[in-house]
Symmetry: C2
Subunit: 218 residues, 2 copies
């Protein structure tokens, strides 16, 4: 299925989006969808949609289209959403709490089983029934409980140390919110949410559109 051919980053970024729209269709009770209909909905070309899906398998039926339900399930499998991930979060500050409540609310297989912080004032408290434990317990906890994912919501300075600890404990992936590019061995998955860079992108876009308008007025 994923037959060792490296999937390009461009495709990977589109997959969760396909899934999201398929889910919408599914909830609406739509049974089948063609690449053309999907194209109108999602905004990618029909050709691209067919190409993308066909890197993973032939999920459609010629002359008919795609079964919404089937394609949705296949996308879940492709995305690895057909299983549970045991997750810990490190850095139980504002962002950490918000993320904890967020993943709790949208619970979809990412089960945060413990929070960690090195602030003694926070240790022992709970966020959504999840206890905050001291940072020094992190590595053992990860190892003993077979934790799959570590979420990093500490500051820039501690982020690499936290990542190293999580990896020593044996996590498979890291969801990083610290504004830094972590050094990570090749076999560990990493996904960054760089909020300030996102905000700077918005700033760039605002400025670009202002410049466009100025030029139009010339």
């Amino acid at each position: 299925m994923n037959n060792n051919t490296k999937i390009s980053n461009a495709i990977i970024r589109r997959l969760p989006r396909y899934r999201r729209y398929l889910n919408i269709l599914r909830k609406r009770g739509v049974k089948k969808v063609s690449s053309n209909e999907l194209s109108e909905l999602i905004g990618y070309t029909a050709s691209q949609i067919r190409q993308d899906l066909n890197t993973f398998g032939g999920f459609g039926q010629q002359g008919y289209g795609y079964s919404v339900d089937h394609l949705y399930k296949e996308l879940n499998k492709i995305l690895g959403l057909d299983r549970e991930y045991k997750t810990v979060l490190v850095g139980a500050g504002n962002m950490g709490s918000a993320i904890t409540k967020y993943t709790y609310y949208y619970k979809i297989g990412f089960n945060i089983v413990a929070l960690f912080d090195n602030n003694p004032a926070l240790v022992g408290q709970k966020v959504n029934d999840v206890e905050i434990l001291p940072f020094e317990d992190l590595e053992d906890f990860v190892r003993d409980n077979g934790i799959d994912i570590g979420i990093i919501t500490v500051n820039q300075e501690s982020a690499q140390d936290v990542a190293d600890t999580l990896i020593r404990g044996g996590v498979k992936g890291i969801w990083n919110f610290a504004p830094i590019d972590l050094e990570i061995p090749d076999h560990i998955a990493i996904e960054n949410v760089h909020l300030s860079e996102s905000l700077h992108t918005l700033s760039f876009l605002i400025r670009s559109k202002e410049l466009e308008r100025e030029e139009e007025n010339n």
Copy 2:
């Protein structure tokens, strides 16, 4: 400078990263840097770095390299970070509060001047000295105070309505955290932070690396 040639999305996404690394060098007191040194640091090829920068102007000096300080300042200008943005946030829940405190902490020209929520229990409360106002005041507030940016941290169902209201009020850009693709007129800038899609990407990467390992063992 930005002379109406459309900047590709690929380049735009790299710009904040350049800025981040230039800032690191600047703080270290480094005065000059070559595209080769930058390449080792950031991980893009030297050629790409020179290409990228030259879409905005010739910031370097042949035989010497780039002045860290000058390039950093130019990047700030390019990114529109040489000004202040008046900002409001709509949806003062967990994520909203966290984002408010976050931008407050990293304050870099994005000044959140008011929060909005339609929950009467929240209205009147404060987050970091910023008051929570009732949602029905949003449009007038945006108009009367010349708000530039609206941050959306409400749920999926209300997000489009919030966006419409912000746009009627006259914002120039929207930073959207709701898991939906907003319908936005062309002259408004939009930047999405789709956390669940980011998490799904991580899930995909974890699964991919597992598959890789399995194949190696065959």
